[in-house]
Amino acid sequence: MKEGFRQAMAWLHTWTGLIFGWLLFAIFLTGTLSYFKEEITHWSQPEVRSHALDPVHSLEVAQRYLQDNAGHSGTWFIRMPNEREAALSVGYRDAKGGPRGFVSKNLDTQTGQPVEARDSRGGEFFYRFHFQLQMPYPFGRWLSTFCAFIMLLGLVTGIITHKKIFKEFFTFRPGKGQRSWLDGHNAIGVLVLPFHLMISYSSLVLFMYMVMPAGIMASYGNDTDKYFNDLFGRNDAPKVANVATPLVPLPSLYAQVQALQPGARIGNIQVQNPGDSNARVTFTQSAADHVAYRRSANWTFDGASGALLSQGKPESGAMMTAFSFAGLHMGNFAGPWLRWLYFFFGVSGTAVIGTGLVMWLGKRQLKHAKSERLPGELRLVEVLNIASMSGLLLAVAGFFWANRLIPMGVEGRADWEINTFFIAWGLSLVHAVLRSGRRAWGEQLALGALAFALLPLLNGLATGQGLNHSVRVGDWAMAGFDLTALGTGLFLAWLAGKMLRRPKPVAKRPSRAAKKPSTETAEAS
């Protein structure tokens, strides 16, 4: 740190990258999967059938179901099916039913009956994990937001460190060991730099009210709810009048929205005080219709008369800035091609973190090339590198295998899928401790290759909706999942082949290290 500015920034880049790299890798990988959250959920719950979208019919179905089953509830929620999500989701507040006083059901849009799908979190699990890290509220959100800040810091210090960034971008020296890793790290980092900067800064924007509350407290005092009401332009619903009045048919309100905003896709509908003369119905436009989140894109109706009462308030410049970052982060607006681009950007972000971690170790390993075993701290990094990268891939595969193998009726089925995820991750850590570095990498990647490549087969055998079926009926979400799993399997097989075949430049160490698992266990734990 006594040297120059650039050296200091390189030092900061290296060490923050090491300490937070493992967690960031997991956040980036599961976050990347979240771009296909609905598609993963579709794969995880193949019982939910897709039908042609018919909003009017869906609204009739939802209203009928809620009137029959939730007449006593004060608030209803309806989430409309869309291109990516087949189920019509209805929910209502019910103090006596469901967890946290909320009941939620997925309906088949044709029959109007609840879909009996296997109990699974599906894509929701990876989505939640990427910002909550399976920790109790609010610690996971704090930690993942801090990781996002470290990522942003890593990008800025990386740019400063790497002064000839654009010149060296065209330099790639493959097959040169450490040098190739560095070239790869830099090339991917620079190529998707705008995405990386956006994704890390926007994570901070999403949770800034939580991690930087001082500004809100100074300006609004104790009334922080007012800040959110101001920001999102909410109006409180009137109290129940206790005058029974039938709710207007929701399709008639839908027609009014279509007259106001032709072609608007509706994301969700909230009904407050249904069946009362003070009923309020709010239609919110789908997030897929705009890049930025729009507080203006909603319409509130009087549920008794059907009159339009208000429209969302327009956004200010500052709001558009914040809402654009939020929208860009979540990518709800992205169509299939852009969604795939998001996915590959996410993968490259994961790769930048992974190559960085590998380089940190590789550079220091060289100094110990002649000694028989690595010093304890380097061995610790090696074990954590393996468990956090190839181990996480095994955990993800384990989740999907559990989804197809755990019988349908098992109590707490969805929880067991998640348990499988963490058990597989834990076992990979144990394996990484017991085996020497290169073997552990190779074996875990090989197992991951098998686990992913066989997923389409498992899917076909377990559900009859394998590639032969999904491609024929044009179920591209299902087929896309299977093909991506197959592709992932092939990629991992290629990596595993490299790890297992090429003679290790650092000679001799593996065989001896493998004989002394007990001492290494002690050091690594």
């Binding site: 740190m1 200091a8 900061l12 500004g215 809100i216 300006s219 609004y220 800035t321």
Partner: protein, 101 residues
């Protein structure tokens, strides 16, 4: 794990720890006070001023981190985050009293 750390003197390690704390805590203080100051002083509607303060606070946190590891000594790191924090705190306090007499 600490067997092989002999190469560097303890004072260096303490200085690094001190810089890290300056960045983590002092930087957070600076960022928070920057967001408070902007929220109270910016000539915008209340919600926009608050929002702008939040959006910009991370820039201050980032600069604080860079400063804490780029400056010549750990003392300067603390000085570099605490002095501007004090200034922002004073401005915020004045603005707060003017709004809430």
């Amino acid at each position: 794990m600490t067997r092989k750390t002999a190469g560097l003197p303890l004072s260096y390690r303490l200085a690094v720890a001190s810089r890290s704390l300056a960045a983590l805590l002092g930087g957070y203080l600076l960022a928070s006070l920057a967001s408070v100051c902007i929220a109270l002083v910016a000539p915008l509607p209340q919600v926009d001023a608050t929002l702008t303060g939040l959006l910009l606070s991370f820039v201050f946190y980032l600069l604080a981190f860079i400063w804490c590891f780029a400056c010549r000594s750990a003392w300067r790191a603390w000085l570099g985050v605490l002095a501007p924090s004090l200034l922002l705190g004073l401005i915020s306090a004045i603005a707060y009293w003017m709004k809430n007499p």
